[in-house]
Structure formats: C-alpha cells, structure tokens
C-alpha cells in the first residue's frame, strides 16, 4: 500500500506536471528548430510570437463568450484556436515579407538574422502589451478537473490523491496529435520531403527543382500553427502573462539545443528532457521516502537536490553540459 502511495505521489507531483510542461516546451522547441533548420537563424522572437498567438486566441475566446458560444465541458478557447491560427499565419507571412525576406534574399549571415529577430521581438512584445496589457489573464472555462484529488482518494482508498486537470490532458493529447501529424507531413508527403531536402542542403535542393519560396512559406505556416497552439495550451494550463512567455523562450531554446537544433524529433524529446529534469531535481522527496523507507530510516531534511528557485538554472545547466560534451545535441542536429 505504501508503495502504491509513493507511486501516486510521484505521478501527481512529478509525472503529470512534467509531461504537461514538457509538451508545452516541445511545441515551442519544434517551432524554434524548424525555423532554424530551414531559415537558418535563431529566432529570439519565439516567446513573443507565442504570446501574440495566445493573445489572438484570448480575444476570439472573449468574443465567443460574449455572444454565448461555448463548448460545454471543454474550454471555449479550443474553438477559438483555429481562427487564431489563421490570423497568426497571416502575421507570420507579413513579418516574413516585410522583415526577414530582405535578409534571406541577400544571404545575410545568421547572426544578422538573429539580430533582426530581436527587432521583431521588441515590436511583437510592444504590440501584445499595448493591445491586451501586461497583466495576468485566465481564459480557461469549462470543466476544470478530470479527477479531483479527493475523489481519487475515495475511489481507491489510498492516502495520496491524484488530481488531473483537464487542461493537462488536453495539452498532452493535442501535442501528441499535432506532433504525429507534423512528423507524418515531414516524412511522408512530397512537400515535407522537399522541406527536409532544403534544410539538409539548400543548393542541391534548388538544383532538383524545389521552390524555395514555397518551402519558406510552408515553414512559416507550420510555425504559426505551432506558436498559436503551443502558446494557447500554456495559457490554458497556467495563465497568460506576456512576461512569462518572453521568459519561456529560454527553456524552449534549451530544449531545442539539447535535442539537437534543426532536428524536430530531438526538439520534441528535448522538451521532455528539460521539463523532467527541472522537476526531478527541484522536487522535495521527503514524503516519497517516508512511504518507501521503514520508519527508522526516514529522512529529516526535505531531500531536495536544489531549491525550486533554481528551476530555470537547472535546464540551463543541462544545456551548458550538453553544449560542452555534445555540441550537436543528444540527437544529431541540422537534419530536419
């Protein structure tokens, strides 16, 4: 019984939150990695683009709520996401046309493109804050929990409760579907293959008749989809605050690089690596040991490797270690 309690404890406080957070990071990391693989620059506007997508989702959600449309037990935002994606794709193509294309055509070095993306970051951040303001917004409606901690205790008769929020299940579910479609697209369809070819060797791809404009356009479309969904899911699960989104850019970068930048599958796994290590290392295991060890050996301290203040620092340290020993990431990067 104690053993079961210990497992439920870990599930509740480590596994489910880490899986959710990892999914959110994974979507962002794939976004970074695809931009890096095809357009060949580190996009510092990632976090703010995601915030922009979320903002559009929120605005449409509010509109739906005001005219009385809802999805019942599911959050209304799910209905708003498709519209937000359309808007976001428009935004991405707009930014590309007026900002990034000039440098791509001129074959500017990647560093210059990264600098330009900082300019885009400033502008996007300003637009988001001017339109919706810098404060915390919650836009989750519908049924909040799938299993409540109390219900679970009653059901199983264990001491430890397991609470699963519907936003967590939604996040994991949607991420898995989206990522499967994306990998199917990249590996099986002709367009996807042409994108991979372009990422692998631009000149050879051009020689074999791949239209670079089309590849770039599809890249931005995918980026728009990922940014909106990734951002909206994060906002549904936690809350929407522009500053948090900007900060999330850092673990997202860490995930993309740990997985091997330019490699979507690596980025996908990298998200979970970062999320799990952050939560594993900063969790206080005292209660866990209380369940599995005999009473005489119970620990007195919290048995916490690092305090939760260092949550971000953990993922960055992992990144530094990976960069030192495997600069190409855990999975070899630069192949889409």
């Amino acid at each position: 019984m104690d053993f079961l309690n210990a497992i439920i404890l870990l599930l509740n406080y480590i596994f489910v939150p880490a899986l959710t957070y990892g999914s959110q990071l994974a979507l962002g990391a794939i976004f970074v990695t695809i931009i890096y693989g095809i357009l060949r620059f580190a996009n510092f506007a990632t976090g703010d683009m995601m915030a922009f997508g979320t903002m559009v989702t929120i605005l449409i959600t509010w509109y739906f709520q005001s005219i009385g449309i809802s999805l019942g037990v599911l959050p209304t935002a799910l209905l708003a996401i498709p519209f937000a994606i359309f808007f976001m794709i428009g935004y991405m193509l707009f930014v590309d046309k007026f900002v990034f294309r000039y440098y791509r055509v001129n074959k500017s070095p990647p560093v210059q493109l990264a600098m330009v993306s900082i300019g885009v970051m400033f502008v996007t951040q300003a637009v988001v804050r001017i339109i919706i303001g810098p404060s915390d917004r919650r836009f989750f409606d519908g049924e909040k929990f799938i299993i409540k901690a109390g219900e679970f205790k009653e059901m199983t008769g264990l001491n430890e409760g397991l609470a699963i929020k519907s936003s967590q299940v939604l996040t994991i579910f949607i991420t898995l579907i989206l990522v499967s479609i994306l990998f199917w697209f990249l590996n099986k369809t002709k367009t996807g293959k042409s994108m991979r070819a372009y990422s692998d060797n631009e000149d050879l791809a051009l020689l074999s008749g791949i239209d670079p404009k089309r590849v770039v356009m599809i890249t931005w479309i995918i980026a728009g989809i990922l940014a909106t969904i990734g951002g909206a899911l994060y906002g549904l699960d936690k809350s929407f605050k522009p500053f948090t989104y900007f900060n999330n850019m850092l673990p997202i970068f860490a995930a993309a690089i740990v997985g091997g930048i330019g490699n979507p599958f690596g980025a996908f796994l990298g998200g979970y690596v970062i999320a799990f290590s952050e939560i594993f290392i900063t969790y206080a295991y005292k209660k866990f040991f209380m369940y599995i060890l005999p009473e005489s050996m119970e620990p007195e301290t919290l048995v916490q490797l690092l305090s939760t203040d260092y949550k971000f620092a953990v993922s960055f340290s992992i990144l530094v270690i990976v960069l030192l020993y495997r600069p190409n990431g855990i999975f070899k990067g630069k192949v889409l």
Binding site: V116, G119, F122, Q125, D309, L323
Partner: protein, 443 residues
C-alpha cells in the same frame, strides 16, 4: 545629442536632464564593452546582464560595512565552502593534467563534482541559515568590506572578468548563434544565484542605502559654502524679491533644487572620467597592431590562424576585456542608484537594449557606441512623453473618455518597446553598419 538633453533641461527640468545624462554615460560604458566584443572581434555576447549584475554585486561587497555578528554566526562555514570549491577545482585540474582521457576519467570528474556539491551543501546549510537569521529585516547577510564604493568599479571589472574567463573557456568554441544563446542562459544562471543566495547580498530583499562617493543632499543643504554658491548663482533672481521672508523661502527652494542638481553633476563628472579614459584606451587599442590583429581574426579566422595568430587565446582575451568593461558599468549603475536590486536585472533591459545601442550606434566604432548609448537611452526615457503626445494628437477628435483613447494612454509605457523595435529594424535594413560606421584607416 547634447542639444537634446539640454532641451529636456529647459523644458522638463535640469534634474531630469542630468539623470538622463548620467544613465546615458553608464549605457555608453556598457555599449563600449559590448562593442569591444562584437565590433572588434565579432564575438556575440548576450550575457551582458550577468556581467552588469556582478559589477553591482561588487559594489555591495565593497562598500557595505561587514556584519560582524553574521560572520561570527556562519562565516567559518562559508569560508570552509570556499576552500572546498578551490580544492575541488585543483583536484579536477590535477586529474585533467595527469590522466589520459578515458571514460573512467570523465565519470570520475563527474563523481567528484557531484560529491563536492553534496559536501558543500551539507557544510554550508547550517552556516547559511545562521547568517540569514541575523537580523533578517536589515542585514541577514555577510556584508562587505566597508571600503569606498569607487573601488568597486575596479573590483566589479575583475568579477566580470573572472566570470568571462569561465564562460569563455566553456562557450567560445561555439558558433555565433549558439554562443548567443549559451551566454544568455549562463547570465540567467548568474542572476538566479544572486537572487536566491540571501547570505551573499540579501537576494531579492535588496540592499539599500549604499555609500556614496559624492555628498548627500541633506548635508549640502546645511553647508555654508553651498548656500553661498547658490546665492551667488541666483543673485539676479533673488534681488527681484524685496520681502525678506519671501526671499528666504525662495532661497531655500533654490538650495533644495540646487543640491540634487549638484549631486548629479558630481556623478556626471565621475562617470565622464570613466567614459573618457575608456574611450582613449579603446581608441588606442583599435588602431594598435593588436586592434589590427583582432580585425583580421574577425574578418577571416582561418587566414589569421594560418598567419600564426592564436585565435582561441585572443578571443578569450577580448571576451574578458569586454565583459570587464560591462562589469565597471554595472558597478557604476549601482553606485548611482545607491541600491542593489537583483530582481531588476532582466534580459530585456540589460542585454537586448544594450545590443540595440551597439547596432544603432555602429559596431566597431567607439564613438558610435557612445552615440548609440546616448541616443537609445534618450529615446527609451523620452518615448513615453513622445508617444503620449502622438496619441493625443492622433485621437484629438475623440472625447476624453473614449475607450480607445483611455486604453492607449494607459499603455503608453509599452510604446518604448515599439520604438526600439522599429528603430532597430530600420537601422538593420537601411544602415546595417549603424549611424557611425566603422572607419578603418589604412596607412
């Protein structure tokens, strides 16, 4: 640029103008640091925030009086930990030097590091708790050395240089955009440590009331010579007032205003000395054989390498030098503010804004760096009034309570981001080398 600041002095107040001027000087120093790395050597450093924070930390550790009680409570443990860290580094160095590279060695080093961290945590825990328990509302940290704060400018440079040495050893082999991300993340780690190690500098509880290198306003207002000075300056204005009581009140008002202007002027003088000294040194370096070598390395690393220049060593050197300059700026900033707030170090303000200054001013040109620092900081501060004016102008037809107008007026602070972004994009597009591009004299 100076004209603009003087205009602010005339239209807003001399106080505002001088504080903008001082911050411009500090920004100029930071920009020069980034410019040394980016403009001279093409190294991209997004960790400016971390070096600035270390400079600020130096200001605290130098100027605050030591908290003896805290030293008695936990100083021994902390010193022990310091020795442990040093011992750990030497053991690892020894292993790296004397053993062949094998898997066992790698695992051994990893084991030593993990064991070391565990031992350090065990030894430090009680000490840290004891230190943080000493009068937590006002101290709760070890304090500093109690020296004049100006020394911290040099110490801050050394702190930043030390960090840059470690970071450079680790990360300089990476290609440009990886280096940018790695330095950004490392600086976040530094900030996290400063924020959460309360025994060091009180963490997010902030250290306030640092010593000043210049007189305090309150003391000035009572000083005989200062009042005489103010009277002399404003004799014309004062003579117009006939009533003695009114005259005294006017004089008091003038003394209060004058004292804060005087303090700011003192700061400006100190900062100007630093800026001019750095400008002379960097200018000399730029046109020296060393500067030529750095440009050669920047423009073609392989060719420079083939000519027998040690690229790795020179990169590390310039990374350290640039970071040290940023460290000086960080210490200057804390000196001017008189307080150290780790929570305020954010990448937006201390990394990306400084980079905007570098790009806008002109990379590789020291005057460009200073101009960038001035222009961008001026815009950053004056963006709010300018955008408020523009909003009022464009919504002049709308009633005061119109929703759009209220909303826009509330979000005025964020227009500065918009201005920075658009400015950066325009400069990148139409003047990619900055306002004052690099000038290379070939003799």
């Amino acid at each position: 640029m100076m004209g603009l600041i003087i205009l602010v002095g005339i239209f807003q107040s001399w106080n505002v103008a001088l504080s903008i001027f001082n911050m411009c000087l500090i920004s100029a120093v930071m920009t020069m640091g980034a410019n040394v790395q980016w403009g001279y050597a093409g190294l991209i450093n997004f960790g400016l925030m971390g070096y600035a924070a270390l400079g600020g930390l130096a200001a605290v550790l130098i100027s605050v009086d030591p908290v003896e009680e805290a030293w008695r409570a936990g100083g021994f443990d902390i010193l022990m930990c310091l020795w442990l860290i040093i011992a750990m580094i030497f053991i690892i160095r020894f292993i790296l030097k004397h053993f062949e590279k094998t898997k066992i060695r790698t695992y051994g080093i990893a084991g030593i590091i993990i064991a070391g961290i565990v031992i350090i945590r065990i030894t430090s825990e009680s000490g840290i708790e004891a230190i943080e328990a000493v009068n937590p509302a006002t101290t709760g940290f070890l304090g500093g050395l109690g020296l004049p704060i100006v020394f911290s400018w040099i110490v801050g440079a050394f702190f930043a240089a030390g960090l840059a040495f470690v970071v450079g050893k680790v990360a300089l082999g990476l290609r440009a955009d990886y280096l940018a991300i790695a330095t950004l993340l490392i600086s976040e780690i530094v900030i996290a440590i400063i924020k959460h190690e309360d025994w060091l500098a009180r963490g997010v509880k902030n250290v306030i009331g640092l010593d000043r290198p210049v007189p305090y306003e309150v003391n000035l207002q009572e000083a005989e010579w200062f009042i005489n000075l103010v009277t002399k300056f404003n004799s014309g204005k004062l003579e117009l007032i006939s009533n003695i009581a009114d005259k005294q009140a006017a004089l008091n008002q003038l003394v209060i205003e004058g004292s804060s202007v005087f303090v700011k002027l003192c700061y400006s003088g100190l900062f100007l000395i630093v800026v001019i000294a750095l400008l002379i040194v960097t200018q000399k370096a730029l046109y020296s054989p060393w500067g030529r070598m750095m440009r050669a390395i920047r423009d073609n690393e392989e060719a420079a390498n083939a000519m027998g220049k040690n690229v790795v060593k020179q990169h590390l050197l310039i990374f350290i030098l640039g970071s040290a300059i940023v460290g000086i700026a960080g210490a200057m900033l804390v000196t001017q503010d008189g307080l150290f707030t780790p929570g305020s170090y954010r990448p937006m303000r201390y990394t990306f804004l400084i980079w905007v200054m570098v790009i806008v001013g002109g990379s590789g040109n020291n005057f460009g760096a200073i101009l960038g620092g001035f222009a961008v900081w001026f815009l950053w501060i004056e963006a709010a009034p300018i955008s408020l004016f523009l909003i009022n102008l464009s919504t002049v037809g709308l009633p005061e309570t119109h929703e759009l107008k209220v909303h826009l007026t509330e979000s005025v602070p964020y227009f500065r981001y918009l201005m920075m972004g658009i400015g950066l994009l325009l400069i990148m597009r139409y003047r990619p080398k900055g306002i004052l591009p690099e000038k290379i004299e070939i003799k």
